[in-house]
Amino acid sequence: MGTYVLKRIMTIIPIFLIATLLTFGMINLSPVDPAEAYFTAAHIQATDEMLEQKRHEFGLDQPLLIQYVNALIKICQFDFGISYVTNKPVWEEITSRMPATIQLTIGSLLIAILVSIPIGFLAGMKKNTGIDHFSRFLSFIGASIPSFWLGYLFIFFFSVKLDLFPVEGTGTWKHLILPSLTLAFPLIALYTRLLRASVLENLQESYVLFARTRGIHEKVIMGKHVLRIAISPMITGLGMNLGNLMTGAIIVEAVFSWPGFGRYFIDAIFNRDVPVIQGYVLLAAGLFLISNLIVDLIQMYIDPRISRKGRQYQ
């Protein structure tokens, strides 16, 4: 088990290297000239000499491989360069905006879990009843409404019409509700479906069917045999979505003027602020990898067969 954990952690390194290579490659392939972008962001009409000098400063006149290795060394030191727009280190900019985004992510995860576990579980247990139809409706809505529109709908109903929550900004927990809910909605749809399906599947397992004949109390059967196992695909889904959530927050942050790094990233795209874009993409890749790692470790704890399966392939 210990070696499995270690090996699993080691797999992160090559994947992250590939991610850096892809990011670096794509930025180099894009028609954006960083030197030009730099001066545009600073509102300076640059001459050819100035551009030439800036390119030299950025190391753009060196061979690609050297550029890549240099970038890699810097990344390992959490140095993502300096933003063209604000002239501050990208890492600092990101970390200062991180708490707001994390707050939003955790808020929406909590909402998603708190809503989808009871609904999905009940829908699976009481198939084709009112609660099941409701869960289907909820998933349908959640899967088909884009989040920017949903966000504006929420603002319209809850803030403008009912005046329950503030329209935008941060500060109190009230500010957090609408953006979290917006971000959580597609997840609720997904998890409710996932949980319902796996509850139904587990109810068909022989050991569940025959636990009843052995007279085991329904509460124990549902808790120990059905829910505990049914929840595990949901945890996988959760891990795959954690990275998504952080990045998916971009749109929601824009709608609700949430001061997380998502909005900062949108600004960076419009300003062609290359170091920020690169930093953000790498950060997202890192988040994906880490959240998947955490989920794998949790899964291994829940399902002892997984670590054995892992070993079979080595």
Partner: protein, 282 residues
Amino acid sequence: MSLLQVKQVSLSFNSKKLFKGKDLSKKVLNDISFAIEEGTCLGLIGTSGAGKSTLGKVILGIQRPQQGQVLFQGYDIYNADKATQQKIRRDLQVVFQDSYSAVNPRMTAERIISEPLENYEKLTITEQRKRIIELLERVGLSEKDLKKYPHQFSGGQLQRINIARAVALKPKLIVLDESVSSLDMVTQSLILELLNELKDDFGLSYLFITHDIKAAFLISDTLGVLEKGELIELYDSKDQFFSSKHPIVKRLRDSILAEHPRFRTLTTKANWVNTNRLSKQL
């Protein structure tokens, strides 16, 4: 009073009507009656699809028949009040063919066996552990196996755990549905031997459902033959199986005659079957 009485049970699965008026319902059990006395084993033989497992489910109280009654210790299991049903379930346990699907893959052996104990008996943790170790040792496993998960056992070992779980509450009747059928010959005879010992130790009764005549023979006191949902023969003594003139029974007899040499090696292990007598009759 017999421990278990099955009275005129009929059951059909009504598949959905494809066309109006055309009833596609399928009769799986037809007017079945028999009884199992305390401390005995009834072997139920039948070819695949004869309705054996369905009958087992009817007796376990999970497949209500359209007609007839199942009486356990005199109580009609489908019309008993909740408390009685709970008591019946305690005294009526089951072991299936597929040992893996019968256990939760995420529970250790200890938790698997402790489940019925926790459910029915409030023991202290040390008492419970002691009971579990006793049970494990009784079925030929050891304390070392407590913390193992199902995938760490062989099929035969896991079947022993299923048996330990079934006998944990000292039930009256255990339904064994093809419980040894997926095991190799040697393991089969060892498990059958264990079942026989447990039967004497705990005063258990068995309903031993199988398509394997040899296995049924090694463990049963009385025998029934099920064919296409009908209980065509019922013998008070298993020896009658060999004198029956029923054409289907003859065919079944022929089927084991074909593998006769193997049959003989199997029985050497079990001294409680008179091999000589058997081969003479065959």
